[in-house]
Every structure is written in C-alpha cells, then in structure tokens.
C-alpha cells in the first residue's frame, strides 16, 4: 500500500509545477493549462486524504471541482478565442487593457 504522504508529495509537486508554468509561460492557452494542472493537483490531494481518512466527503468535493473545471474550461476557452479574434494575440503581456 502506498502511503498518503507520497500522494500528497506528488500533489504538491504537481501544484508547484503548475504555478511555475503559469509564471514562466507567456501565452494565455498554456497558462490556462497550468491552472488545470493546479486544479488536478488539488484533486489528487483531496483523493489521497479521502482514502486515508476513509471518508467520502472529499471525494464529493473532487466531483464538484471536476464539474466546475469543465464549466470553467468552456468559458475560459471562449474568452481566449474571442480575445484572439479581437486582438490577434493571446500573449498576456499584450492584453493589458485594464491598466489603471
């Protein structure tokens, strides 16, 4: 049996990778994928803890996260698509219209 700590370590590593990717990459699509990685890292942590505590609550949370992530993917992709159509770019450094 694999201990829960290993899962958590993996989840933490995944999450850190996601954060790193988000800050290193400059196009919106890749950064979006980095966010997905972070979400799934969190899911993995939830599942590991659910397995360790033998409770189903955390598993339910995972289902919720998956659902929200699916919806978010739709909305996010649409926004990216529209942003590209309008500005002919998805480089986040160029999309700074909301500067105060």
């Amino acid at each position: 049996m694999i201990p829960a700590g290993a899962f958590l370590a993996l989840a933490a590593a995944l999450f850190a990778l996601g954060v790193l990717a988000f800050f290193v990459k400059r196009d919106l699509l890749t950064q979006f994928m980095a966010v997905e990685v972070m979400l799934n890292a969190a899911n993995l942590a939830f599942l590991a803890l659910a397995k360790a505590s033998l409770k189903a609550d955390a598993q339910a949370v995972v289902i919720f996260v998956l659902t929200v992530a699916a919806a978010e993917a739709v909305v996010g992709m649409s926004i990216i698509l529209l942003a590209f159509r309008r500005r002919k770019t998805i480089r986040t450094d160029d999309l700074s219209g909301l500067k105060g």
């Binding site: 988000f22 800050f23 986040t92 219209g97 105060g100």
Partner: protein, 634 residues
C-alpha cells in the same frame, strides 16, 4: 346651503387649475370666457347666499359649511369651515362683483399679451384665495387665504418678469409683507393658544367676556395689526405698494386697490370683539391709520406717474378705513372699503384706459386735453374723482363722512383733524390728475398723439358699471340725519359689527358741512394750481425747494430702509458667505472630494493590467494566509 358654500371659492380655483395647466391648448376667446364665467358663477352663488341670509329669521345663526377637519392635534381642532354672515356677504360680493368687472376689462386690456392663460389663471387663483380669506370661519383658514393672496400678488406684480423692475417690485412686495406676516403668525398662535380654538366667534366671545389676560388682550391685536399694516400697506410697511404698480393695471385695480389690500381692514373688523376689548389696540389702529392717511396723501401731491398717484391714494384711503375700525366704527370702515373698491377700482381701470390710449405713457406731464379724445373714459374718471374727493351725495362722501363723524364723536379730535387734512389733500391730488390728464393743452408726444384712441367696449362697459356704483354706492349707508333706517349697510351688518352711536343731527350737519368744505377747498386749490394759474406749482417748488425735494424723494423712507435694513443684511450675508459658506462648508465638501480623488489615483497604480502581477498577488496572499494558519496552529 352648507357645504355648497365651498362652491363659491372652489369654482374660480377649478377654473384657475384648468387655465394654468392646460392654458396653452385653449383659445384666447375661451380663456377669457371661462375665467369670467367662473367669477360670475361665484358672484351668483354669493348673491344666492345673501338672499338666504336676508330671508333667515333675525338672530338665526349665520350660514356655515364644514368640509372636513383640517387639523386635529391634541385639544386643538381646526375645521376647514366657511361662514357666510353679513360681513362675509358684503366682502364676497365686493370681491366677486368688482372682480368680475375687472376680469371682463382684462379681456380687453391684456388682449395683446402672449401669456393670456397665465394671466387669467392667476387672476382666478387670486379670486379663490381672496374668497377663502373672507369666508373662513377660523383665523387659521383665513391665514391660508391671507398668504395665498400674497402669493398671487407677488406673481401678478412680477407678471412681466422679463422686466427687471417688475421682478424686483414683486420680490419687494413679498418680503415687506412677510415682515408683517411674521407678526401676524405670532399673534395668531398666541391667540389660538389662549382661547383654545381658532374660530372667530370663540375669539371674539372670549375677548368680549374679558377671558384674556390683560397683556395678551393687548399684545395679540397689536401683533395681528402689524400683519394688517403689511398687507394693507400702512406706515411703516407701506413701501411695497407704490412699487407694485409695475404689474398690469387691472391687477393694480383688483389686488392693490379693491380687494387684497383691504384684507387687513377686514381682519380688524372681523376680530372687532378683540379690538374693542383692548384699550391700546383701537387707538393704535386709528393713529396709524390717520398718520398713514396724511403721509401717503402728501406724497400723492407731487408724483408724476398716474399709477403712483393712485397707489399713494390707495394707501391714504386704507388709512381712512383703519381710522374707522380704530375708533370703533367698524361698519363705517367696511362701508368705506366697499365704496373705495368701486371708485378706486374705477380710477385704476380708467387710468389703464388712458395708458392704453397713449400707447403705454404713464407720465401725467405728457398728457393733457384728453377729455374730448377719450369721451367714455373721461366721465368715468371724473365721477370716480368726485366720489373719492367726498363731493356730496357720491359714494365716497357718505363713507368718508361716516368715518370722520365717528372719529369726532369718539373724541379722537387729533385723528379727526388729520382725516380732514387728508380729505383736503385727496381732493387736491385727484383733481390735479383730472386737470393734468383731461384738461389744458395736449402735451403728448407727437408720435403718441397720432395713435390716441378710445378703448373698446369690453373695457369701457366695466368703467360705466363702476361709475354708476361709485356715484350711487353711497346710498346703502346714509347717515342717520336722512332717517332712522337710512343706514341699510349698518343695519345689515349689525349682527356682526355693532353700529356706532349716531350723533345729534345738528352736529352731524355741521360735520357734513366741514367735510364738504374740505373737499371743495381741495378741488378749488387744484383748479387754481393746474388750470387757472398753471405756473403756481413750479413757483411753490422754487420757493420751498427743501419741502419739494423731500416730497419728491418720498421722505427718503426707501433710502432709510435700504441703509438700515437692506444693506446691512446684504453686507452681513456676503460676509457669512465668504467666511463660512465658501471657507467652511464648500471647503469641507471640496476637501473630502479631493481626498477621495487622490486616494483613488494612488490605488489605481496597483491595477497594472498584467495578469501575472495579479497572480503573484494571489500567490503571496495564499502563502501568507497559509503561513498564518500554520503559525497559529503551532
């Protein structure tokens, strides 16, 4: 007839609402017709109420109608209630009767004005408020009418508001009467608090029965009289009335001669129980009236604007009415109010006709010789002039005589002498007008002279009706020497105003002789000065330049008020404006706005528009938060 009494004031109110709200969609013909019909209906209803009143048994309570309870607060209850007793009957017939004639006249006089509907709407509104004033059964409801007519007066004086002088005159009228009204409110509140109710009947009864504390019985009528002095243009608050002549001439006739300015006299007569009960109030009213009568008449002697002469004359005649009320002859005061409404209304309307004929010229030095050019206006003006001078057997003779007789009989010799002096001056200044306008050579400008024309019938017919009333109106109040029952008005008013004691016939005849001599003397002097030896006035002015300048300067009262009240107030306001308004209030507001703006500008730097900066903030926040939780747990 109880609640139906309300129809008398409400019909003009309804008509006014239609004219003011929908006036722009109505034809001119319809506007004047509707306005006149509304007043005619009120007149007819007043006449019907009068017939009922005459038919009622002696000692029966007056007609009254309550619509609803207006104020119910603790022990105080003010009903919206109208009363129709003999005094109200006289007043409402004058208001609607003379008012109707002036409405009709206005249809001709204002024919060329573009604000036709506003004019008639306001005239109807004025009629409504004036009727509320004279019909109210409580002093509180009367005050509603009192303020309402003041508002209409303001709006109509400033009717041609694009003329700065007219706008200023309207404001002056409003503010000066406000000074008196403040005292009026104080008097009203003291009285209502002391008596326990606002009804006139209760106030008079309580005062007559000695139910008021002595200081209160003096203070309340004096405060109320201050309000009357404002509204009825008595010394020292008369200064607004001459300026009010900036309004259209029919307005001067209706509001500033026949009706509104007599509201103060009506109020004193209505509260006769209160005024009779005080040893101070009556003589005060009579003295102010006598001083005003002479003071204003002296100013009318030298004015050169036809309407200004009539304005000072009105102030002077109102003084007469107050003499009557002050010496206890309330009936005589009301009698003079009625005849004055006839002849002064007529004088103003005839003056309007003259002004109309001369394309707006108001300076009597540029008139003259008009008696043949204005064959219908001239006799009307002449009859009114005879009536106001007190030439025997015309209306003004009887009413003025009734007042002077009462003053003499009451032992108020000084008041009587002042009244007599004012009578001489009255005959003089009014015939000065007659001679300068209608006799002598024509001094009109050549351009004006080519357009002189008599006014249309819609204007001259009201003149004719008023001329008949001015001539014969006095017959309703013959003195006792013509028979025990000759004084119809006095007997009619007796249930409300107790009749004055008639003097012995010999005294009465002598007094009549004296006042006739006074009138004839003034008339003769005017004849000498302005027809026989036309150079006399200029010679006299050169002989006593100081006196002449003082009169022309109107005793410098306006200048005095300006220096003592107006300018310090303006100066003080400017000071407060600069030091407090600008510095403190505006400073605080502008300061807080500037602070918010600066804070916003600073905070907006945080919004860089770069997603990574936001994400970094999230990350740092999350790390800090987690670190905090972990540290706290440990």
């Amino acid at each position: 007839m109880a609640r139906e009494l309300w129809l008398i004031p409400l019909l003009p109110a309804l008509s006014s609402a239609v004219l003011l709200l929908l006036g722009s969609r109505l034809s001119r013909r319809w506007i004047s017709l509707q306005a006149c019909l509304a007043v005619l209906a009120s007149l007819a209803l007043s006449a019907a109420a009068l017939v009922r009143l005459l038919g009622a048994a002696n000692g029966a309570p007056p007609l009254s109608g309550t619509l609803f309870t207006w104020v119910a607060s603790g022990s105080l209850s003010v009903p919206a209630s109208l009363t129709f007793d003999p005094l109200t009957a006289v007043m409402s017939l004058v208001v609607t009767g003379v008012g109707l004639l002036i409405h009709v006249y206005s249809a001709g006089y204002m024919a060329g004005d573009r604000d036709y509907s506003r004019y008639f709407g306001l005239l109807n509104l004025f009629t409504f408020f004036m009727l509320v004033l004279v019909m109210a059964s409580s002093i509180v409801l009367m005050f509603v009418g009192w303020e309402g007519v003041g508002l209409c007066s303001y709006l109509l004086i400033g009717f041609w508001f694009e003329k700065p002088a007219a706008a200023r005159a309207g404001m002056k009228a409003f503010i000066v009467t406000r000074v008196g009204d403040a005292a009026f409110v104080l008097g009203m509140l003291t009285l209502v608090a002391a008596v326990g109710g606002p009804e006139f009947a209760r106030i008079n009864a309580a005062a007559a029965a000695g139910g008021l504390a002595p200081w209160l019985a003096t203070l309340a009528p004096v405060l109320l009289f201050a309000g009357a002095a404002g509204k009825s243009a008595q010394v020292p608050l008369y200064v607004w009335l001459p300026d009010a002549m900036e309004g259209p001439t029919p307005v001067s006739a209706l509001i500033h001669a026949a009706t509104m300015v007599t509201a103060g006299v009506y109020m004193v007569a209505r509260l006769n129980g209160l005024y009779s009960a005080s040893a101070v109030a009556g003589p005060l009213v009579a003295s102010v009236g006598a001083v005003t009568a002479v003071f204003a008449a002296s100013l009318a002697l030298v004015q050169t604007d036809i309407k200004k002469v009539l304005a000072y004359s009105t102030i002077s005649q109102l003084g007469y009415m107050f003499i009557g009320c002050g010496v206890g002859a309330y009936g005589a005061g009301i009698f003079h109010l009625v005849t004055h409404a006839f002849f002064k209304g007529l004088l103003f309307l005839a003056a309007g006709s003259v002004i109309h004929a001369l394309s707006g010229e108001q300076d009597i030095r540029k008139m003259g010789g008009l008696r043949r050019r204005l064959p219908r206006t001239f006799p009307a003006f002449f009859v009114a002039a005879l009536a106001i001078s007190g030439i025997p057997f015309l209306s003004g003779f009887f009413s003025k005589d009734a007042i002077l007789t009462s003053a003499y009989e009451g032992g108020h010799l000084a008041v009587w002498l002042l009244g007599l002096l004012a009578a001489v001056m009255t005959a003089f200044y009014i015939f000065r007008l007659v001679f300068l306008i209608f006799f002598g050579e024509e001094r009109t400008d050549a351009e004006v002279r080519r357009h002189i024309h008599e006014s249309p019938p819609v204007m001259t017919v009201p003149l004719a009706v008023l001329a008949v009333l001015s001539a014969l109106g006095g017959l309703i109040g013959l003195p006792a020497v013509f028979g025990e029952r000759a004084d119809l008005l006095g007997r009619f008013l007796a249930p409300v105003l107790k009749a004055a004691e008639a003097p012995p016939a010999a005294v009465e005849w002598n007094l009549i002789l004296v006042s006739t001599t006074a009138a004839a003397g003034g008339l003769f002097l005017a004849f000498l000065f302005y027809l026989r030896y036309p150079g006399t006035p200029a010679r006299l002015a050169a002989r006593w330049p100081f006196l002449y300048r003082t009169l022309i300067g109107k005793y410098y009262v306006d200048e005095f008020y300006d220096a003592v009240f107006v300018r310090p107030l303006v100066r003080g306001s400017e000071l407060v404006y600069a030091s407090f308004d600008l510095a403190v209030i505006d400073g605080a507001l502008n300061g807080s706005a500037a602070a918010a703006q600066a804070a916003g500008r600073g905070a907006s730097r945080l919004q860089t528009g770069r997603i990574k900066d936001y994400a970094l903030a999230f990350l740092l926040g999350a790390v800090l938060f987690l670190g905090f939780i972990l540290a706290w747990k440990a």
